[in-house]
C-alpha cells in the first residue's frame, strides 16, 4: 500500500495542529502516534515512516520510540485488547487466576489474538486501579474486581456485541448511590 493512503489528510492536519501547540514540534510525536493507532488499530511501519517525514525525523528514530513505549502495537491486535494487570496488588488478589481463566475461555495464551480477531490477551504492569484488584483494561476502559463470574459476564457482553461494555466512569456522571 502506498504510504500516502495510510495517514488520511484529516489525520495529517490534526498532527500538524498538535505540533504547533508545543514550543518544539517533536514533542507532539507521542500524541501523533496515539492518533495513528486510534485510526489504524496499530502502528504499521509505513505509517511510522510517514509520520517521521511529517516531523522531519529519521524513520528509525520513530521506530525506536514505538518500541520503547509499550502502548503502541507493532502488529495488528484484536478488536478488544484485554490488558491484565500483573503488579503487586493484583498479584496478591489473584491476577494469575484472571490470566488462567481468560486463557482457558478464549483458548489463547498471553500475547495472542483469537482466530476470529475479536480478542487479544496481554499482560500489563500496574494500571492505577489497585483498589479494584484484580483488574484489567478492555481497550481504554477499566474493569475491576475480576472474579470468574465477572470475567464471564465481560466476555459474554462483548461477544454479544455490547461494545459499550464496560461503561465509562467519568466525573460528570452522577456519583454512585450508596
Amino acid at each position: 500500500m502506498p504510504t500516502q493512503e495510510l495517514l488520511s489528510p484529516k489525520l495529517q492536519e490534526r498532527i500538524k495542529e498538535l505540533m504547533a501547540s508545543y514550543p518544539k514540534p517533536q514533542s507532539a510525536i507521542l500524541m501523533a502516534l496515539h492518533l495513528i493507532q486510534e485510526e489504524l488499530g496499530w502502528v504499521p511501519e509505513p505509517a511510522q515512516a510517514q509520520v517521521a517525514e511529517l516531523f522531519g525525523m529519521p524513520p528509525q528514530d520513530v521506530t525506536t520510540l514505538v518500541s520503547f513505549y509499550y502502548m503502541y502495537h507493532r502488529k495488528p491486535v484484536g478488536r478488544y485488547v484485554l490488558k491484565v494487570c500483573k503488579s503487586i496488588s493484583c498479584y496478591l488478589c489473584g491476577s494469575q487466576n484472571v490470566i488462567d481463566h481468560l486463557e482457558k475461555k478464549l483458548d489463547i495464551k498471553m500475547g495472542e489474538t483469537t482466530a476470529d480477531g475479536q480478542f487479544s490477551l496481554v499482560g500489563s504492569e500496574c494500571l492505577a486501579a489497585c483498589t479494584g484488584a484484580p483488574c484489567l483494561q478492555v481497550n481504554d476502559r477499566f474493569y475491576e474486581n475480576c472474579s470468574q463470574e465477572r470475567l464471564d459476564e465481560l466476555l459474554s457482553r462483548l461477544r454479544g456485541g455490547d461494545s459499550h461494555f464496560p461503561p465509562a466512569n467519568v466525573s460528570w456522571q452522577p456519583p454512585k448511590e450508596s
Binding site: 514550543p23 513505549y69 500483573k86 503487586i88 496488588s89 488478589c93 492505577a128 489497585c130 467519568v170 466525573s171
Partner: protein
C-alpha cells in the same frame, strides 16, 4: 461516601454531584481562591504562603512545595514551565487517577495557583497513556475553563496569562521520574537525565521548570480556601495537612482514603478504614509507600503512624502513599519476585548496574521460588543489591533492590525454607510437599 474517620480537605468536594463540570465547581466557589490570589497577592507572597502551609510533594519524595518553587530563577530571560506529573504507575498507587477523573477543575485551579506563584505561562499535564478516561475528563475541563476565560490571556481581568497543554504518555513507568518525564515530553525515549543541572534551572527545552505531582497541585485550592494557617494546624510538626492513601491488597475494603498525617497508624488504617483483613486472616507485611518502599511488618510496625517521619524512622518511606497489605498466607519470596520483575520490566536499560542487576535479581528469586535455589544464592542476592545501591543513574535502580533486602530482613526464614524444602513455608504453596 467518605469513610467517617477520613479528614477530607483535598477530597472535600469529591462526592458532589457533577463536580467535574465547570458549572458545579464554580457554583461551589471553585476558582475563587485562585482569582482572589491574582487580585490581592504578589507571586512571591503566594510562594511564602505555600511554604507556610507546610505542603510537601505527594509524588514520592515529599519535598516542600513552596521551597521547590522558590528555586526557580527569575532572571534567565527564558520562558518557565510547569510539568504536572500524572504518570501514576507506582504499583499500588491509584489516587491521581481518582483526582483527574472526578475533580479535574480542582487540579486546573491548583495549576493556576502554581503558575501564578512562579510566573509560569505554560503548563503541560503529562498523563499516562492508559488513563484514557482521566484524559477525557481533563480535556473537557480544560475546554470549559478556556471558554470561561480562566486560561488564556488576561485571566480574571488581570494581566496574568497562562496556557495548558494536555499530553498523553504511552506506557513506561520510568517516565514518572521527573527528568525522564522531560525527555519524554520532548518527544524522545523516556531516559532520565544527569543532575545537575536541576530542572528548576534547566528543565523542559533547557528552560526553568517545576515538576509537581497531581495530588500536590490539587491540594492547593482547598488550602487557600480554608487558609494556610488552618491547614498547617493539621498533621504533625513536619508532616502537615492530609494526604491520600491507596489501601490495597488483602483487606476487606480496599479504597483511596484521605487521612490526617500522623493521626492514624497502620493497625487503625487496616482495621478501621480497610474493614480488617480478608477472611479473618492475620496481616503479615505492609508496603507503606508503593513498590519502591521497604516492607514493614504488622507485628513490629502496627503502631507506626502514617506520616513522613514516622515511616522513615521505621526504615521505610511514605513514598506515593500506596499501602499494600499482605496476609499471613502470602509467600514473601513470591511477592518479592513479583516486585523485582516489575522493576526489571520497567528498567529503561540506560545504565548497566540496573539493567543487569534487575535481571540477576529476577533470575535468582525465580529459581529460589521454584525450588532450585542454593544457600549461596542468599549471599549473592545481598551482593547484587550492594552493587546496585547508589550506583545506578536514577533512583529506579535503588528501588529494585528494596523488595529483596526488606523481605530478607524480616522473612529470611522463608527464603531458607524455600531452598531447603523446595516449597513455600506458608500459604497454598506450602501444601505442595505435604506429607513429605
Amino acid at each position: 461516601m467518605p469513610h467517617p474517620q477520613e479528614k477530607r480537605i483535598l477530597f472535600g468536594w469529591r462526592d458532589i454531584k457533577d463536580i467535574g463540570s465547570l458549572k458545579v465547581y464554580r457554583e461551589k466557589g471553585g476558582y475563587d481562591a485562585w482569582l482572589k490570589l491574582l487580585k490581592e497577592k504578589q507571586p512571591a507572597e503566594v510562594i511564602e504562603l505555600t511554604k507556610a502551609s507546610g505542603l510537601r510533594g505527594r509524588g514520592g519524595a515529599g519535598f516542600p512545595t513552596g521551597m521547590k518553587w522558590s528555586f526557580v530563577p527569575n532572571n534567565l530571560g527564558k520562558p518557565k514551565y510547569l510539568c504536572v506529573n500524572c504518570d501514576e504507575s507506582e504499583p499500588g498507587t491509584c489516587k491521581d487517577r481518582e483526582i483527574v477523573e472526578h475533580i479535574p477543575h480542582q487540579l486546573l485551579e491548583g495549576i493556576g495557583i502554581a503558575c501564578y506563584a512562579v510566573g509560569i505561562q505554560k503548563a503541560f499535564i503529562y498523563i499516562r497513556g492508559e488513563m484514557y478516561e482521566g484524559y477525557l475528563s481533563l480535556k473537557k475541563a480544560i475546554e470549559e475553563a478556556y471558554a470561561a476565560g480562566l486560561f488564556g490571556k488576561k485571566i480574571g481581568g488581570s494581566d496574568f496569562e497562562c496556557d495548558i497543554v494536555l499530553h498523553r504518555g504511552a506506557g513506561a513507568y520510568i517516565c514518572g521520574e521527573e527528568s525522564a518525564l522531560l525527555s519524554s515530553l520532548e518527544g524522545e525515549r523516556g531516559f532520565p537525565r544527569l543532575k545537575p543541572p536541576f530542572p528548576a534551572v534547566s528543565g523542559l527545552y533547557a528552560c526553568p521548570t517545576v515538576i509537581n505531582n497531581v495530588e500536590t497541585l490539587a491540594t492547593l485550592p482547598p488550602i487557600f480556601r480554608m487558609g494556610v494557617e488552618e491547614y498547617a494546624k493539621l498533621g504533625t510538626d513536619k508532616s502537615k495537612g492530609t494526604r491520600m492513601v491507596s489501601l490495597s491488597g488483602h483487606v476487606n475494603n480496599p479504597s483511596n482514603f484521605e487521612i490526617e498525617l500522623g493521626k492514624v497508624n497502620f493497625k487503625q488504617l487496616i482495621e478501621d478504614f480497610g474493614g480488617g483483613m480478608r477472611h479473618g486472616k492475620k496481616c503479615k507485611a505492609i508496603i507503606p509507600g508503593g513498590a519502591s518502599a521497604p516492607w514493614l511488618t504488622m507485628e513490629q510496625h502496627g503502631e507506626v503512624t502514617l506520616d513522613f517521619e514516622a515511616i522513615a524512622a521505621a526504615r521505610s518511606m511514605a513514598g506515593s502513599g500506596a499501602i499494600v497489605v499482605m496476609d499471613e498466607d502470602t509467600c514473601a519470596v513470591g511477592a518479592a519476585l513479583n516486585l523485582v520483575e516489575f522493576f526489571h520490566e520497567e528498567s529503561c536499560g540506560k545504565c548497566s548496574p540496573c539493567r543487569e542487576g534487575t535481571q540477576w535479581l529476577t533470575q535468582i528469586l525465580h529459581r529460589i521460588e521454584h525450588g532450585q535455589g542454593k544457600m549461596e544464592d542468599l549471599k549473592l542476592l545481598d551482593e547484587i543489591c550492594e552493587s546496585m545501591l547508589g550506583k545506578t543513574f536514577c533512583p529506579l535502580g535503588d528501588s529494585a533492590t528494596v523488595p529483596v533486602s526488606s523481605s530478607m530482613r524480616y522473612f529470611r526464614d522463608e527464603y531458607e525454607h524455600h531452598i531447603k524444602e523446595k516449597c513455600c513455608k506458608v500459604g497454598p504453596g506450602a501444601k505442595k510437599t505435604a506429607g513429605v
